[in-house]
C-alpha cells in the first residue's frame, strides 16, 4: 500500500502543494489530474523517490521509501514523460535493455510478444527507433508494462500521442494489473476509462 503523508513541494519560488495526504490501496488506481504546472509530475517523481519532498513522507507498506531505497525501487515500474529510449537502438533492443536495467531481464521472444501486445508489428521491431513516430516510441516505452511483474506502476501521461486503439489496450493492461492486486498512480489530463470503483481521483489546484 502506498501512502503520502503531509507532502509539501515547491519548485523554485512557487509552492505547488502543501499538506497533501493520499492513500492508494492494492487493486486501485490513483489518477492525478490538474492544470499544466500544477505539480502532477512533481508528485509522481516524489512517489518514485526521484525527488525528495520538502516536507512529509511517502510510505510503502508503512515504511518510508527513502529508508527502503533499493528495496522500494524493486517494487515499482516508473515510466516518465521521457520515453527513456535510444534513437540508435531498435525497439527490441531498447525494450530488452530497459528491462535488464530494471532488474527484470526478459528473453527475445518475451520482448517481441510485449511489443506485439501493444500493437507494434514485427517489421517495426528491427528498425532504428529514430524512424518511429512519437506514438510508436511511446508504445515501445509502455511495452514494459507487458513484462513488468512489479506491484506499483507510476505512469506520467501514458496516453500522450497514443491513438485510440493503443489507449484502449493500455487501459486494459492497467485493469488487469489492478485485478491482480497491483497499484498504479497515473498522471493524466484525459479521463481514464476504468470502472469508477477502482479509480481514485486527485485534483491538484496548483
Amino acid at each position: 500500500m502506498l501512502q503520502a503523508v503531509a507532502l509539501r513541494c515547491s519548485r523554485g519560488e512557487r509552492r505547488l502543494f502543501t499538506d497533501l495526504s493520499v492513500k492508494v490501496e492494492r487493486g486501485s488506481l490513483l489518477a492525478v489530474v490538474g492544470e499544466n504546472g500544477s505539480g502532477k509530475t512533481s508528485l509522481l517523481r516524489i512517489f518514485s523517490s526521484l525527488l525528495p519532498p520538502e516536507q512529509g513522507s511517502v510510505l510503502w507498506g508503512g515504511q518510508d521509501i527513502h529508508q527502503l531505497k533499493e528495496l522500494y525501487s524493486g517494487q515499482l515500474t516508473y515510466i516518465g514523460h521521457l520515453n527513456g529510449m535510444k534513437d540508435d537502438l531498435t525497439p527490441l533492443e531498447n525494450l530488452m535493455s530497459a528491462m535488464s536495467l530494471a532488474g527484470e531481464p526478459c528473453s527475445n521472444n518475451g520482448a517481441k510478444e510485449a511489443l506485439e501486445g501493444i500493437g507494434l508489428k514485427r517489421p517495426i521491431h528491427h528498425l532504428p527507433s529514430k524512424v518511429l513516430s512519437q506514438g510508436q516510441k511511446r508504445r515501445v516505452a509502455l511495452a514494459r508494462l507487458w513484462l513488468s511483474t512489479r506491484p506499483l506502476w507510476l505512469l506520467d501521461e501514458p496516453f500522450t500521442s497514443l491513438d485510440q486503439a493503443a489507449t484502449d489496450v493500455v487501459t486494459q493492461r492497467l485493469l488487469m494489473h489492478l485485478q491482480r492486486g497491483g497499484l498504479a498512480v497515473v498522471v493524466t489530463h484525459q479521463e481514464v476509462a476504468l470502472p469508477t470503483e477502482v479509480v481514485q481521483r486527485l485534483r491538484l489546484m496548483g
Partner: protein, 227 residues
Amino acid sequence: MSGSSMWEAVSGIIRRDLLLAMRRRSDAAMSVFFLVIVVSLFPLGVGPEPAVLRTIGPGVLWVAALLACLLSLGRVFTADYLDGVLEQMVLIPQPLALLVGGKVVAHWVISGFPIVLLSPLLGLQFGLSGESLGVLVMSLLLGTPTLSMIGAIGAALVLGVRGSGLLVALLVLPLYVPVLIFGAGAVTSSMAGIGGEANLSLLGACLVLSLFLAPWATAAALRIALE
C-alpha cells in the same frame, strides 16, 4: 538483491553503451583523431630537433591524452539525461554507484583504450626509445581509467547546466594534475635511466583511489541533477 542480478544490470549497461558506440563510430573516432592531430602539430611547430622532441614528448603526449579524454566526457551522461534513461538508471533496485562504474568502464573502453593502443605510434614521432614506449603505454593504461573516473564526477555535476563543456574542463582539469605529473614523470624518468616504477606505482594508487571513491561521488551528483 542477489549478486547475479547486480552483475546482470552492470554488464547490461556496459553492453548497451558499447553497442551504441558501435552504431555511432564517428563519435568515438573523433577524440582519437583529435589526439593524433594535436600530437602531430608539436613536431611541426617546435621543429625537428630530436633532443627537443624527446624532452617534450612525454608531456605533450600526456597533455593531449588528457584533453582527448576531456572532450569525450560530454558523452558519458548527457544523452542518458536528455532521453530519460538516467531516470531509469537511478530507479534500479541496485546501488547506483555500481551502474556508474559500469558506465565509466564502457566510456574508458570506447575513448580511453584506443588512446593507449595508439600511444606507441605517437611516441615514435618524438623519438622515444623502446623501453620508454613501454613505460608510456603502462602509464596510460593506469592513468586513462583514472581520468575517466574523475571525469565522470565532473560530467555528472554539470548535467543540465548551460555551457557545460567549458565548465567541466574548469572543474576537472585541476583534478587531472596529479595523474599528469605522475604519468609524464614515469616516462621522463625511464628516459633518464632511473626507471618509471615509482611513478607507475603512484598512478596505480590514484587508480585504486578513484575506483573506490569516484562512483559514489558521481552517483550522488546524478541524484542531485535529477531532482
